[in-house]
């Protein structure tokens, strides 16, 4: 069974049909467990809106999103919060670590609201996994940009989410550090982690297995990374919302 099924997802702003601004136009796709997908497109193409919808944070205007068979936007807001805790891990463009908590405490944050017993042990294990076992007690201000990104990744995967959502995860890093972070993503993928990465940086998609390209709110390409789609395959979905 597919992990994600996006069905005719539309997102528009404004109630008046004439002045309505469309961010996504009847987008449809599925994601299988363990896929490593890049979502690319120019500014304003709808990448961030798609990520917010996949992240159970912004309800689509039309259509539905099923994750593991759950109709995400049929859930109440609080149930959606529970869903995010259980199913999703986020890596933002900036690490967004909580500045007054140590690296270890930052990684523990998703566990604070879970039933996991050995929270500290599990968080320490995740820090080890991203190569920062020796920096557990450091505050974010005492870590380099790359190290902060690693802590953010450890935080995103500590509750073992079925899906990892990353928004320009190397956008703020130099190329060497960025490459290290991409290596880390690849390692996670190799362990079976499903990853959806939004990026505009072509270098970031190097390890991804599938590339979804968006333009003006429409998926113009959805194929294995590196493949070129024939012209008639463009504009997947019917591209029309109410």
């Amino acid at each position: 069974m597919s992990l994600v099924i996006a069905n005719g997802v539309c997102k528009y702003y404004g109630n008046d049909e004439k002045t309505r601004v469309h961010a996504l136009l009847r987008v449809e796709f599925t994601i299988e467990p363990g896929e490593y997908i890049a979502v690319m497109g120019p500014s304003g193409s709808g990448k961030s809106t798609l990520l917010a919808i996949l992240g159970a944070m912004t309800p689509p205007s039309e259509g539905s999103l099923l994750v593991d068979g759950i109709d995400v936007y049929a859930l109440s807001q609080e149930k959606r919060a529970d869903f995010r805790r259980e199913y999703l891990g986020f890596v933002f463009q900036q690490p967004q670590l909580i500045p007054y908590l140590t690296a270890l405490e930052n990684v523990m944050l998703p566990l604070v609201i879970s039933d996991v017993k050995d929270k500290k042990g599990l968080a320490a294990q995740m820090l080890e996994k991203v190569g920062l076992g020796d920096k557990a007690k450091r505050l974010p201000s005492e870590l380099s940009g790359g190290e902060q990104s690693r802590v953010a990744i450890a935080r995103a995967i500590v509750n073992d989410p079925p899906m990892l959502l990353a928004d320009e995860p190397v956008g703020s890093l130099d190329s060497k550090t960025g490459s290290e972070i991409l290596d880390l993503f690849q390692a996670l993928h190799a362990d079976g982690q499903t990853i959806i990465m939004v990026t505009h940086n072509p270098e970031s998609i190097r390890d991804t297995g599938r590339l979804i390209q968006l333009k003006d709110g429409v998926i113009v390409s959805d194929a294995a990374t590196g493949e070129v789609l024939p012209a008639e395959s463009h504009a997947i979905g019917n591209g029309a919302c109410r």
Partner: protein, 385 residues
């Protein structure tokens, strides 16, 4: 790590803002503590002064045939025509009332108009031990009576009868020695002649009869209750309290309480506003942080709990600091201004009240910011990332 840890660590990082809330609350609480402590001290001072009046309840025979003014009250039973009488048995009844523990002294008295050297005076037969116990301010020139044929005179009575300590005087057929003269008291005592009660009863052929019983309730607020029980225990007697004293106390405390309440309410409201503004600003500054929490799956209630835990922590500190500051200022007042003599005392009740109000104000003022934080749309919050 728990939600509370997040809240407390955030406070530790934002010391300036936390200090602002603490100071804002502490000022309000200090004002309240000062006013309440002053009120309690003032109340105690008034009580002490009122209690120093000595007896505050008078029991006298119900029927009136002749009135005689004693202590601003019309007292019956000073002649032989009364229908009802008080006897020494009534003293025992008074001692057995339920609130007997609230009574510090019971002093039976026999009153009789007398003539000494052709001058009229009022003689009061008393139990000297009880009388000196209740009227601690009595100072005697000479000495206290050491036998039943000795009397003491009020200052006016001594002047009127032209007697001094050591003189002899004759009442009816019996001779008495003036053991001492009271220093002027400013009360009715100045005009009276005090003799032993048994000797007075014998002298005027009164048997066990009494003219009145004066009773001292321990504290002014106990008077009404003691009066009510005495009325039940002594149906044939009139029981009267020194209402003026009680009324004075109630009026004085009432005015002070009203003033205190208004000032405290205004300052506490200002404190609440400071907490509200500071917490709102703190929530706005932490929009991204809250967005991250929400994206990670924190429920609204978890976010609200973080904010309210912060509010609770600063409120408790504000309450403690406010209590110390308020009590300290009030305690220092009589030391700084020696003319103010107030018995300022620390009170655990006032401390708990201060803490409760600080927590209440802190939490209520933070409810709206907490709600605002909890209701933040994670997507909106993350747009600013």
């Amino acid at each position: 790590m728990r939600l509370d840890t997040i809240a407390l660590k955030n406070l530790a990082r934002r010391k300036g803002k936390a200090a602002l809330v603490v100071v804002g609350l502490a000022v309000g609480i200090a004002t309240m503590v000062s006013i309440v402590t002053l009120m309690l001290a003032f109340e105690k001072s008034i009580d002490t002064q009122l209690d120093a009046f000595g007896f505050n309840i008078v029991v006298y025979p119900a029927s009136t045939s002749l009135s005689l003014n004693y202590g601003g009250m019309n007292i019956s039973g000073v002649d032989t025509f009364e229908v009802e009488t008080l006897t020494e048995a009534d003293i025992e009844k008074a001692r057995r009332i339920r609130s007997a523990n609230d009574i510090t002294a019971i002093s039976p008295k026999v009153l009789q108009a007398i003539e000494v050297k052709n001058r009229k005076a009022l003689l009061v037969g008393v139990d000297f031990d009880e009388e000196f116990q209740a009227k601690k301010w009595w100072k005697v020139m000479g000495h206290k009576p050491s036998s039943k044929d000795q009397v003491i005179l009020g200052s006016d009575a001594a002047r009127n009868l032209r007697l001094k300590a050591g003189d002899s005087m004759k009442i009816g057929s019996q001779s008495f020695k003036v053991a001492g003269i009271l220093h002027e008291t400013g009360s009715q005592d100045d005009g009276l002649v005090f003799s032993d009660i048994e000797r007075a009863q014998a002298l005027f052929d009164r048997g066990q009869d009494l003219s009145l019983i004066e009773i001292s309730a321990q504290r002014s607020e106990q008077i009404d209750n003691v009066v009510a029980e005495l009325e039940k225990a002594l149906p044939g007697a009139e029981v009267s309290s020194i209402k003026q004293a009680v009324k004075y106390r109630e009026e004085a405390m009432g005015s002070l309480a009203r003033f205190g309440l208004i000032v405290t309410a205004i300052i506490i409201m200002i404190s609440g506003f400071i907490v509200f503004v500071t917490m709102t600003s703190s929530v706005n500054e932490r929009k991204q942080e809250i967005g991250v929490f929400r994206a990670m799956g924190y429920r609204k209630s978890s976010v609200a709990r973080i904010i309210l835990t912060e509010a609770l922590a600063v409120s408790v500190v504000g309450g403690i600091v406010g209590y110390i500051a308020g009590f300290g200022a009030t305690y220092a007042l009589p030391q700084v201004v020696p003319s103010i003599e107030l018995p300022v005392e620390a009170s655990s009740s006032v401390f708990l009240l201060a803490l409760a109000i600080a927590v209440l104000v802190g939490l209520v003022s933070s409810l709206m910011p907490a709600r605002r934080a909890a209701n933040m749309d994670p997507a909106d919050a993350l747009k600013s990332l």
